[in-house]
Amino acid sequence: MAEAEFSTLVEVSLRVNGERVSRRVEARRHLIDFLRLDLGLTGSHAGCEHGVCGACTVRVDGEIVRGCLTLAAQLDGADVWTIEGLSDTGEVRDLQQAFVARNALQCGYCTPGMLATCADLLERSPAPSRAEIREHISGNYCRCTGYEAIIDAVETVAAARRAATGQVAIGQATIGETAE
């Protein structure tokens, strides 16, 4: 019983935006404070800190979570992606461009969480209806823009991605035919 004693400080080793990070964290430290204060990744925002507003939404092990309702101490071995990493890899570039084009942000406070949530939706559902988009972002509050422009932006990106992957699929079919 030597291991796993109670402690107010916890060692964690995880990946953040693809890079290995090892830190000793306070047990009460939630993921957003860990990212912002310990790692200097200030793209993730804390709003309400009790699960209601969605400003803290980030990706952990392939799924979106509330950063304010996840302790850093729980994340030993986890794979965390924030808006910084999602921007650097270009994964959400089309969403970001569509948000700008449609005026889907003003102050931008909700935007990193909103983008993580929208990217999650498009990964699971390539052709979401407006009602499905609305439902998926129901846990992300935007206090300035209103939601119509955000839904427009997501719809536009979904259509553009379908068009692009449609071309890829045709390309693969052609290759398949010649190979046979």
Binding site: F6, R28, G51, G54, I64, R66, C68, L69, T70, R134
Partner: protein
């Protein structure tokens, strides 16, 4: 707001968790999905000296087929219930209820064990286990015991759990070929706790319902079986008679979501919709939310 300083320990398995808990004392808490507990800690609602993180105990997660029933591990997440093929086939109420709980980014971490232990009167899963006549499997260092859902929810945020006792699983009978489930609720916005909600389970044969089980949530301090309405539907007295019986079955208390009169009215509206849905008169859809 930030939580107060606290101690943390990660449990490797169930007996380890129970041992850590005993050593930390009764005020320490098990940390499952954290979707209720960490919100309370951030708000400093209660002083919690220590957390025992059970979220990595593999034996507590997932759904198993036991022949005549399903065993749903305590750490099975709301998102798992939503997607699990065994749940969809054999206990569809859970699959219907899960998307109504909170939002996508909360369902990826919130667990069925946490929801039942927390026993929020407006929560969907407690009402599901009640209507589906499930058993809650509990473990303490002294051993395991089973409590029928009907005897588990005692009052406002109050359950039959004893000190140092945890939920390890829920066991629920599989549905027969004629059995149908409906989970309906009314909420102001998608993901909000419901103003009123029900879980209806019944065999459908000969154009009527048999062996009806009907529970309500957000109607009082704990989820409640509507026995009068169940009897009225069982004896084919019709939905109006069942709605009349709700008058004595339910004793809603006013909360942030509305007063007792409105809740009573909504209970009847939902029952009409649920019965019509099971009888195939109109589609049963999971929720009915105001537009956000």
């Amino acid at each position: 707001m930030k939580g107060a300083s606290l101690a943390y320990a990660r449990a490797n398995d169930v007996s380890h968790a129970l041992e850590l808990w005993r050593r930390a004392g009764p005020d320490a808490r098990l940390l499952a999905g954290g979707q209720s507990l960490l919100a309370g800690i951030n708000l400093r609602l209660n002083e919690i000296p220590g957390l025992i993180d059970i979220s990595r105990i593999g034996e507590l997660r997932g759904v198993a087929d036991l022949g005549d029933r399903l065993r749903i591990g305590a750490l099975t997440r709301h998102a798992d219930l939503q997607a699990d093929p065994l749940v969809a086939a054999h206990a569809p109420a859970f699959a219907q209820a899960a998307p109504l709980i909170a939002h996508a980014a909360i369902r990826t971490r919130g667990t069925i064990g946490g929801s039942l232990a927390y026993a929020d009167p407006a929560a969907e899963l407690p009402a599901c286990v009640l209507a589906l006549d499930a058993e809650i499997v509990l473990r303490a260092e002294a051993g395991e015991r089973r409590v029928a859902a009907e005897n588990f929810f005692l009052g406002l945020f109050e359950t039959a759990l004893r000190p140092f006792e945890m939920i390890v699983a829920v066991e629920v009978p599989k549905i027969g070929p004629n059995r149908r489930h409906a989970v309906l609720e009314l909420a102001r916005r998608s993901g909000d706790y419901a103003m009123a909600g029900l879980v209806l389970a019944a065999d459908v044969a000969g154009g009527r319902l048999h062996d009806v089980r009907l529970s309500y949530f957000s109607m009082g301090p704990a989820p409640v079986l509507a026995r009068g309405a169940m009897a009225a539907l069982d004896s084919d007295e019709g939905v109006e008679a069942a709605c009349a019986a709700l008058g004595t079955d339910l004793d809603p208390v006013a909360d942030l979501q509305g007063g007792p009169e409105m809740k009573r009215h909504l209970a009847g509206v939902l029952l009409h919709r649920a019965v019509a849905g099971l009888l195939g008169h109109s589609p049963v859809s999971g929720g009915n939310h105001g537009r956000g």
